[in-house]
Symmetry: none
Subunit: 413 residues, 2 copies
């Protein structure tokens, strides 16, 4: 069973709007075992929409269109669908009553353009839109299903879940799909691939492994396609266990877990607290930790010490270290971490000091040089990295490496 999405709107092409609808629909389709084969974005242009419909119909069983259903002149999806199916618009009474009701309830005058929302192609079944005025439409033509939905994400999602999915499940007998995503940190894509190559080679053809890389992280997705979902789940889990066995130390979570989320869970499980003393990362590690819902249970606070004076007065870094070794030194981050550890009376303290760039580098300490320390009751560990020339990257990588160091301590890795 194959589906395609056609998104309609000039704003998508000139980059004014990022298309989040397609990813959302793709997730929903994947969950019910429909393969999204291709996605096409085209402008508010009659010929482009007709061509896209024609091409998609040749490849897919279900064609989903979003956008172009508004009341203004640039919205031409309905007229173009009429042309494609060689039919005309008629007024739909249910939609008309609904639109009138919305305007009455808001005490707003009706414009003629609003009533046009009740005009729909003769050959469609209406998909009721309880969150707006533009109805969704379901066409069953040439043994294919065409679905036209509004582009407003909230309206599209409501109609999709309430009207589209139940009809799809009723009409088609769908295959099963099982997905499991394993999130890794601090290991490059190629090293990871090298370590688990033998597992990848063992995969049967109905199970696929994908590498999804981002800054200092790679997510591994196992997807199985077949008949029996619980069997697929068992099969995938066997391979997931093998992956765990091979690279356990690099795995911080699964699915939607963020690294900070996983570190937060470990802290809460152990009833422990954390604080940060940040220089080059400028509050970004604190931000990552406090992005976790419920972080007040494990996070007490931080000191961001950008200046020498604040490193001295608030964190107790010695003037001697600052003047002889500088702020970007092992001794400085050790004193920062131990300073905040004592001051805030936490179980773990993270510190970071480096040269984020673009300026401030020297031959000895080029831009990207970052020292990180973690203080615990027993000891303080440190790590020196060079993250390269990009300021934004340096800040992000500092945070990831620091949180991963704490994760390893919490797991005694």
């Amino acid at each position: 069973m194959k589906a395609e999405i056609i998104t309609i709107g000039d704003e998508l092409l000139i980059g004014q709007v990022i298309d989040t609808n397609s990813a959302w629909i793709g997730q929903r389709l994947t969950e019910v075992g429909i393969q999204l084969y291709q996605r096409t974005a085209c402008g508010d242009n009659r010929k482009q929409i007709l061509d896209s419909l024609h091409d998609a119909e040749l490849r897919a069983d279900i064609i989903i269109l979003t956008g172009g259903l508004g009341p203004t002149n640039d919205d031409i999806t309905k007229a173009t669908l009429c042309e494609y199916f060689n039919t005309t618009l008629i007024e739909n009474k249910i939609v008309k009553d609904w639109v009138c009701k919305i305007f009455n309830n808001k005490n707003l005058p009706m414009l003629e353009s609003n009533l046009l929302q009740a005009m729909v192609p003769l050959n469609c079944e209406i998909l009721f839109n309880r969150t707006g005025t533009a109805p969704g439409m379901w066409f069953n033509e040439n043994n294919k299903i065409f679905i036209s939905l509004p582009g407003v994400p909230f309206e599209m999602k409501t109609i999709f879940d309430e009207e589209v999915l139940p009809r799809i499940k009723q009409k088609f007998s769908l295959p099963s799909i099982f997905n499991r995503t394993i999130n890794t940190v601090s290991i490059g894509e190629s090293f990871l691939a090298d370590k688990i190559k033998y597992i990848e080679d063992e995969l049967p053809s109905h199970i696929k492994l994908a590498y999804l890389p981002s800054v200092n992280m790679v997510r591994l997705r196992l997807s199985a396609f077949g008949e029996n979902k619980s069997l697929l789940e068992k099969e995938v889990n066997v391979f997931a266990e093998k992956i765990y066995f091979e690279i356990a130390e690099y795995i911080y979570g699964e699915g939607n877990d963020s690294l900070a989320n996983s570190v937060g869970k470990l802290l809460m499980q152990n009833n422990k607290t954390v604080a940060t003393a940040e220089s080059c990362s400028g509050g970004y590690i604190a931000h990552q930790l406090t992005s976790v819902a419920g972080s007040s249970k494990f996070y007490l606070g931080s000191i961001i010490a950008y200046s020498y004076a604040i490193k001295e007065s608030e964190l107790g870094v010695s003037k001697n270290v600052l003047n002889t070794l500088g702020a970007v030194s092992e001794e400085c981050v050790v004193q920062m971490a131990e300073g905040i550890f004592k001051k805030f009376n936490v179980d773990y303290a993270i510190s970071a000091s480096g040269i984020a760039g673009p300026d401030g580098g020297t031959n000895e300490k080029p831009v990207g040089t970052v020292w990180i320390a973690i203080a615990t009751k027993e000891k303080t560990i440190t790590k020196k990295s060079n993250f390269g020339e990009n300021r934004e990257y340096n800040i992000q990588k500092t945070s990831i490496v620091a949180l991963d160091m704490l994760r390893k301590i919490l797991l005694e890795l």
Copy 2:
């Protein structure tokens, strides 16, 4: 001049990754006067990629591919391009040396898969990737340009700006375009549209106005198309001046200026310093300020006080205020701002305390309630907001409103 984008990767179709690359490329192309005609997303699948290349070549002059250039088995873009152009892969010495250098600098062993990054189709010109191992590729075939770029957004953007755009500008005689983007904050899109409607109505047909909204911000882009760039610039500037006249107080900058950047510039111009005392924003305001290159000139440091104890001990918030009015109160943010103002001896201090959610709301103080204060030598001003239920949004909006309050003080608005 028409372009198309083909994005490659199963992760885009199953919705695991939202495609932000296409919108970014669409913006860049629009800025230089190239029409993005269509976008296609296809899987890591040889036939789909070949079909998409074939179809795009029939419609467009420039075909841009992103993704599928990693070192792992699921990445098949290079092999498929070879098949499409009926050529083979050869080793490129510049890329090989670069990949070796990266691994040497990191003291990491080279894997065979890493060296595969240096294998490129015989008929391509290399687009150097100084931020990663996968090079971009430029093909001039059948009187069309094909460009293949890595899918990692940071790498794609760097190669596009440094290698692709200069080549496109050299190869094609593009129409003249002049863009000017005015960045506004703290005014909604419809209010903005209402205030400047009469200016919009006066625009000649070759000048377009676009509204680019994001969280609490709207950017207004004036784009003029024609022959004579300096004439276009003069025309656009006339309308920009009219917009400034109407909404000056909401304009914080132009083009790529971030709000923090603009605030930083104002602080530096006045030789002033700032610190933050953050609760609900959890270091995000500090992160915004320290994301500005050169921020050590105006930013000294911050205290992130998540717990009551740290609000008391580090910022001098009174136990009485915390116990009677709570941390989310005007009195608390005043004491936080004045506490850090004195402690760090700065010219301006920002504080914020609120309920970011998802839990912790009450009838009196629902999730999204945020108090912000700015302390100066003369006075401390405060503002209460309700930003709604989304934690991520609440943190972002707190930062934007706080920085905008400081901006207005610095400009005496």
